[in-house]
Symmetry: C2
């Protein structure tokens, strides 16, 4: 069960919801493949490994796929998230519009100075001292870390202690769990924006280098042609 695989599943699911909204009743592996950028064979293989059934000629039933994928991806349960750190990024996330349609809800925010938080989102903001209690009481499993990097690992510890099992980290440090009670039991995703940008710069730069090379090669070819002529 690999990262890319799960990512594809969520992409399938979101796409299927959109298709359903458009009135689609069934869909083919090549439609799905085109839309999320993989080969139809891979789509079929994915569905095959999940035992998602299709019809030999009629493709896949959209409703069936959605239902089964929702189950597999755990949408049958409430998907509640807390945000720790209510600065610019934290509060921005609370207002983020892309969640509601996915059954995900940010239910609370925590900050060392909740009284200073400028919050227009309607999500309640509590002091950090309430964090553990809240998470335990509400049996919250997923949290977003949006604190400064200096606080991040401290917060991580507290979250794990409180029972959080999935963490999305926006702090500009690569968090990973070093404690012995953690391996396997807590998943951390780092959204490292600087890293993403560097990645982009690399691609852009190397692309340009390639193009220059290609250009040079072209020139050489045309020179060769000139020679021939």
């Amino acid at each position: 069960m690999n990262k890319d695989f799960i990512l594809r599943l969520t992409k399938y699911k979101r796409l299927l919801y959109k298709l359903k909204a458009l009135g689609f009743e069934r869909v083919f592996s090549n439609n799905l493949g085109d839309a999320i950028g993989v080969t139809p064979a891979l789509v079929r293989k994915d569905f095959s490994t999940l035992s998602l059934p299709g019809n030999k000629r009629g493709g896949y039933n959209v409703d069936t796929l959605i239902e089964k994928l929702d189950k597999i991806l755990g949408r049958d349960r409430a998907q509640h998230v807390v945000v720790v750190g209510c600065g610019r990024i934290g509060t921005a996330l609370m207002e983020y519009s892309g969640f509601n349609t996915d059954g995900i809800e940010i239910v609370a925010g925590f900050d060392t100075h909740p009284e200073n938080v400028h919050n227009t989102s309607g999500v309640p903001i509590y002091g950090m001292d309430k964090l553990t209690e809240y998470v335990r009481e509400h049996d919250t499993k997923v949290a977003i870390i949006a604190v400064p990097d200096s606080e991040a690992s401290k917060v991580l510890d507290r979250l794990i202690d409180a029972g959080i099992r999935g963490i999305l980290n926006f702090a500009p440090v690569e968090l990973k769990c070093t404690r012995n009670d953690c391996p396997g039991s807590t998943t951390i995703h780092n959204v490292n924006i600087a890293l993403e940008l560097e990645h982009l710069f690399y691609q852009v730069n190397s692309q340009e280098a390639e193009e220059e090379e290609a250009h040079t090669a072209e020139e050489e070819v045309s020179e060769a042609k000139d020679k021939d002529a």
Copy 2:
């Protein structure tokens, strides 16, 4: 040249900067491997494919690695980014602290209503009508999209027309370039927060399911033992 590979390179680089700051002069493949979570063999393989030289006993020279990686990752050029959409997320990014140390700088923001933007970052904010001009004049290659989903693909088009080659998209839609002049020439990274969260929920949920299973299995084992006894 795969995605994970490039990601590892940037991780190596960042780690090396930290190590340099700590006074390290050389470093071993197992140090690096431990820190970024891969085997030492893979580190050596990576460096080998990039012809990054090491010493048979003395490991790798930190300065050399940094210098070469910076070149490979394109840090020898200015790394300027513009942000399109100066809402909560856009302005939050402008204040983001993790960039400066990486030679990345957000140089301008664009918004349909620049006069309404509450901006404390010092980054100049312009109207959308200035976007193309600015990008062309400053030869900017990378942009962040932080507009509502309804605007995202429109903005994407404008950015590509203006000459942007790398895009980090925070709008809650999966952007990809559908135009014929685009394939290969523009790289788009989607930071889809909802997708990330779904991913986490999936992992958390499936982990719990596994644990329950394991628990059940354990019980069965202990029952079997009871039977034996």
